[in-house]
């Protein structure tokens, strides 16, 4: 394991620790102990990362935001991964009209920029819960995984173990499920891990635009939205969620790289 990969593991553990233990140790993220005198306080021993414009503790909001981000990312990547693998394996492994149609469906989905689909869906749905947002992000994130899995399945289809299975008389469904599908899972896992970075950024982006989940929820995006109004007097409001975002996305990117060198050493 290289230093970069170790760093990825360390950063990922940091975010998970913040998400799992943070909310237990930091108290209520919505408490407004002193809305008059306790607002926009600089970092101190009482409030390690200061307070926001409503006197709420920034560290507590950051920890709860980490929990929401990870929840949303987990749902999104499970959804995107399952749909992506299903479409990709069918498009790459099944011959004939069915495979061809699935393949074109992937191409059409890839032609739509994700952010545009996301905004259209959010505009139609209005305010949604974090779980629903996770599903929406998953349903807009599968095409890139499907493309990767399709390429992998097309390559595997020509391998000797697949030819052998076909020659032995295995039915097409069995060939796909037992001979092609398992080989596509490692690269799909790598892509899903790398995709976590995109999901975390998009979730924060929607929060920053004040859409998607309720702006009252302590998400990193809504914290950044609030920080924008107080850049002059309270820059730590921007730094805390900004650094958290970098740590989370860098963790996912480095972890994905590490997984790739372990699971799929041949690919770039």
């Amino acid at each position: 394991m290289s230093i970069r990969h170790r760093l990825g593991v360390v950063l990922a553990f940091t975010v998970m620790l913040l998400a799992i233990l943070g909310p237990l140790l930091t108290g209520d993220p919505t408490a407004q102990p002193d809305p008059v005198g306790g607002r926009l306080l600089a970092p101190s021993t009482a409030h390690w990362l200061g307070t926001d414009a409503f006197s709420r503790d920034v560290l507590s909001r950051l920890a709860h935001g980490a929990r929401l981000s990870l929840l949303i990312a987990a749902i999104a990547m499970t959804t995107a991964g399952s749909i992506g693998v299903l479409f990709g394996v069918v498009a790459g492994g099944v011959r004939g009209l069915f495979g061809w149609t699935t393949s074109r469906a992937i191409d059409i989905a890839l032609a739509l920029p994700r952010i545009v689909v996301l905004l259209v869906v959010v505009a139609a749905l209005g305010q949604i819960t974090p779980v629903e947002l996770g599903l929406v992000l998953g349903l807009t994130g599968w095409p890139s995984i499907a493309r990767l899995v399709r390429g992998e399945a097309l390559r595997l289809r020509e391998e000797t173990h697949v030819t052998a299975a076909v020659a032995l008389g295995a039915p097409p469904a069995r060939v796909i499920a037992r001979e092609i599908l398992p080989g596509t899972l490692p690269p799909a896992l790598v892509a899903a891990t790398l995709g976590v970075a995109d999901v975390v950024l998009l979730e924060a982006g929607l929060g920053f635009l004040g859409i998607g989940v309720s702006p009252q929820l302590p998400t990193w995006g809504s914290m950044i939205l609030q920080a924008q109004r107080h850049l002059a007097e309270a820059p730590w409001l921007l730094l805390a969620p900004g650094v958290a975002l970098v740590v989370a996305t860098a963790a996912a990117t480095l972890l994905g790289d590490a997984l790739r060198s372990r699971l799929a050493p041949g690919s770039r």
């Binding site: 059409i108 952010i115 545009v116 689909v117 905004l119 505009a123 209005g126 975002l245 970098v246 996305t249």
Partner: protein
């Protein structure tokens, strides 16, 4: 070649139309009553509500909605904005100029500077400065564009007060200001959004150009050129860069969606009156005709860009076999 170009163009048009159909269908099939977006917080009696439903056609079945939309598009009619009560096409036309200005400058700077930096770091991959560049690109790659934008605002607009933080021009500029003063003001307003867009998107061409050039640096013809004493500049330009340019052209098509999402967030941060800020604002107010109209425009832009990238790729690699 021309046969292929026609087919590729038809494909881009078909994908744009299919994309438009999908966006319209998506909104129609998802739960959520657009009437709430039209009337907002107002309490209306059922009769008025029924009238509004009819007037805005929110209960029409999907085939009718799709048919209307497609017929409308051919006449340049994208519907009426719920919030502004004005044609969506007019709103888009007003917003197109600023987006094209910001987007084309970003494209120009990101690709020229990105390719130059990528080539430079491939020529001396082990040097301190090249490794520092690698770390910096990883950081800008993981930073969301709106955080980059806000950090620049904090430093250059709030702390040092060198540059304006929002808008296209200064509302306090005298009406009789000279052309030069207006231009200078526009440039001052452009610097921060442009810098943000470039920082948010430049990592990809740098990395791509670097890895492509790293492959050609090791090529035997480069060693041969060095051996016969060709100048380093000429080697960098002719022997390393020229064969390593095609992967970057292919990248253009993949990079455009990045430009689109950059436009949405960066325009929003800087209150830059473009299409990206329009779709973000319209999503917030659930102004669905505007969201769809701007969305279709962005889909078309991405398709056009990837079409141009494919055509350029063909020109750059004349030997490519028809696939």
């Amino acid at each position: 070649m021309s046969h292929w170009a026609v087919r590729r163009t038809a494909e881009a048009v078909a994908l744009t139309i299919l994309g438009a159909v999908l966006l319209v269908a998506l909104v129609h099939l998802l739960p959520g009553d657009p009437l709430n977006a039209i009337i907002g917080e107002r309490a209306l009696d059922p009769a008025t509500k029924a009238l509004l439903r009819e007037q805005w056609g929110v209960d029409h079945p999907l085939p009718v909605v799709l048919g209307d939309f497609m017929v409308g598009i051919t006449r340049g009619d994208l519907g009426i904005s719920y919030g502004e009560q004005r044609p969506v096409a007019t709103l888009l036309a007003e917003r197109l100029g600023p987006t094209l200005l910001l987007g084309s400058l970003t494209l120009l700077i990101t690709f020229t500077v990105g390719m130059a930096l990528g080539l430079w770091s491939a020529l001396r991959p082990r040097s301190r400065r090249a490794q520092l560049l690698g770390t910096l690109t990883l950081i800008t790659y993981t930073l969301p564009s709106f955080v980059i934008g806000l950090v620049l605002v904090w430093v250059f607009a709030v702390s040092w007060q060198w540059l304006p933080s929002a808008g296209l021009d200064d509302p306090l500029l005298p009406i009789d200001a000279t052309g030069g003063a207006v231009l200078l003001d526009r440039i001052r307003h452009l610097i921060l959004p442009l810098a943000t867009m470039v920082l948010a998107t430049i990592a990809v061409p740098i990395r791509q150009q670097r890895s492509a050039a790293l492959a050609t640096v090791a090529a035997p013809w480069v060693m041969a050129a060095r051996a016969r004493g060709v100048s380093p500049w000429r080697i960098a330009w002719q022997h390393v860069w020229r064969p390593a340019v095609t992967p970057v052209i292919t990248l253009l098509g993949l990079w455009l969606p990045l430009l689109v999402s950059g436009a949405v967030f960066v325009e929003y941060v800087f209150a830059w009156p473009g299409v990206g800020a329009l779709i973000a604002e319209a999503t917030g107010t659930r102004d669905i005709p505007v969201v769809i109209g701007a969305g279709v425009l962005l889909v078309a832009a991405v398709q056009l860009g990837s079409l141009i990238a494919d055509l350029l790729y063909r020109v750059a690699t004349p030997g490519t076999v028809e696939s």
